[in-house]
């Protein structure tokens, strides 16, 4: 027996079978929550973003174009919702100053949790637009073209942001001792 495809679920929702939408929530809530968390670095905010993203997707199901993967469409909504959230938050209150520790020596050992925290903090030091391309590329392996479509920017801009973002991350991670030279 095969499970319902995303498209079959969308069609059922449009026919009024609302509860089946829960299957899509089960299927994608973790990956979308992770993406939102990487973008905003706050579990409660990430939860709100994912809820809003699913609600918006539900409201716009009639506009969903089946030639694109449903998951990509949902992921795009989540990333854009995260960017909108960051813009709103920026207007409301200043962001905390980024936490950058001083140069660490190779002897400093980073445990797994510390490494994860360091990476998340490094992501938070990037501009949101840079963070978005990193999340799209390295957490979901989207191509340059897909990222361009998702963020509504030219492929050239995608590349430029991605390259700059990675170079900045390199510098931050060296400073924080996550990347250590021999």
């Amino acid at each position: 027996m095969t499970e319902l495809t995303d498209l079959e679920i969308v069609e059922q929702c449009l026919d009024g079978n609302i509860r089946v939408f829960g299957v899509l929530v089960d299927r994608y809530q973790n990956v979308l929550f992770t993406a939102a968390l990487r973008m905003v670095n706050d579990r409660q905010d990430a939860e709100d973003i994912v809820q809003t993203a699913f609600t918006k997707a539900f409201e716009k199901l009639e506009n969903y174009n089946a030639k694109y993967k449903f998951f990509s469409w949902l992921y795009r909504i989540t990333i854009n919702e995260s960017l909108n959230f960051i813009k709103r938050r920026k207007r409301q209150e200043p962001l905390d100053e980024p936490v950058v520790s001083g140069q660490q020596s190779p002897e400093d050992f980073l445990g797994e949790n510390e490494r994860k925290e360091n990476l998340q903090q490094a992501l938070m030091q990037l501009k949101p637009d840079y963070r978005a391309v990193i999340v799209l590329r390295h957490f979901e392996q989207h191509s340059y073209q897909e990222m361009g479509e998702m963020l509504n920017i030219p492929e050239k801009t995608v590349k430029s942001r991605l390259f700059s973002a990675r170079q900045l991350l390199r510098e931050i991670l060296i400073k924080n001792g996550v990347i250590v030279h021999d």
Binding site: E47, F54, Q120, S143, I174, I179
Partner: protein, 249 residues
């Protein structure tokens, strides 16, 4: 000093978007430039660190919040049709009464035709929950005994149709799929109580969501061979909690 051209090629290589000619040129450049080679190694470390970041589990109550917050009226056309402009209580009562009467007549018309009183529905009375509790499971009935859901399923030849009787009683939402591997299509469907059921049927597969206690009666195409019975699957919280074949009695 690293040439910008090769810097771009490093990124393209890491994204798998480099041609073989460009790759050769990059390899030669890295072999002759220690600073560039170290930079490239750093970029690879950046990426591997990012991609090793774990998937985070969504908070346990998130799904309920999402489902509870959905604007369900968006796609519930039947409900919208019952909406009416502001009116006095008397008019409103009249509308509700008329709608109820129409719904009753509709249900009588539909189910009266699908399950004539002297036919299948009456024949199935012996399988209804009350009788079930008194009689216990017969040999041909498949027991469903999960921590959250209990019940039984039975597949029988009734007149010209093959009927799957399914009784479920439990907590939470259960996603139910009944599938006939022989490809028999389900023609009719009825439930003993409750009116909030949404159902889909494609080929030999029926799919719906169950809550609380209910009896379902599914009639499969009588002309199809159903030697393989019906594969019944119950999903709880998105995971398969029960999957067994209900044999033809």
């Amino acid at each position: 000093m690293i040439d910008d051209k090769y810097l771009a090629l490093m990124h393209q290589e890491l994204d798998g978007e480099i041609t073989s000619a460009e790759k050769t040129a990059l390899d030669q450049y890295l072999a002759g430039n220690a600073e560039a080679a170290q930079y490239y190694k750093d970029l690879k470390a950046v990426i591997s660190n990012l991609e090793e970041m774990p998937l985070e589990a969504a908070p346990s109550g998130l799904k309920d919040k999402i489902m509870d917050g959905l604007p369900v009226e968006t796609y519930q056309k039947a409900d919208n049709e019952l909406k009416m402009p502001a009116a006095s209580d008397i008019w409103r009562t009249g509308w509700v009464f008329a709608a109820g009467l129409a719904a009753g007549l509709f249900a009588w018309g539909v189910f009266g035709n699908l399950f004539p009183v002297d036919d299948r529905n009456r024949q199935l009375q012996g399988n209804l929950p009350g009788a079930q509790a008194e009689q216990g499971l017969s040999g041909s009935q498949l027991a469903i005994d999960l921590p959250q859901v209990r019940g039984f399923a039975q597949l029988e030849q009734r007149g010209e149709a093959r009927i799957l009787s399914l009784y479920l009683d439990g907590e939470g939402t259960v996603e139910v799929t009944a599938f006939n591997p022989d490809g028999a299509t389900m023609r009719h469907f009825a439930q003993e109580q409750g009116a909030d059921l949404q159902l889909s049927s494609q080929g030999g597969k029926v799919h719906f969501f169950h809550q609380g206690r209910n009896q379902y009666i599914l009639s499969f195409d009588s002309e199809s061979r159903m030697e393989k019975g019906v594969e019944l699957t119950l999903h709880l919280d998105g995971k398969v909690a029960f999957r067994q074949t209900v044999p033809v009695n």
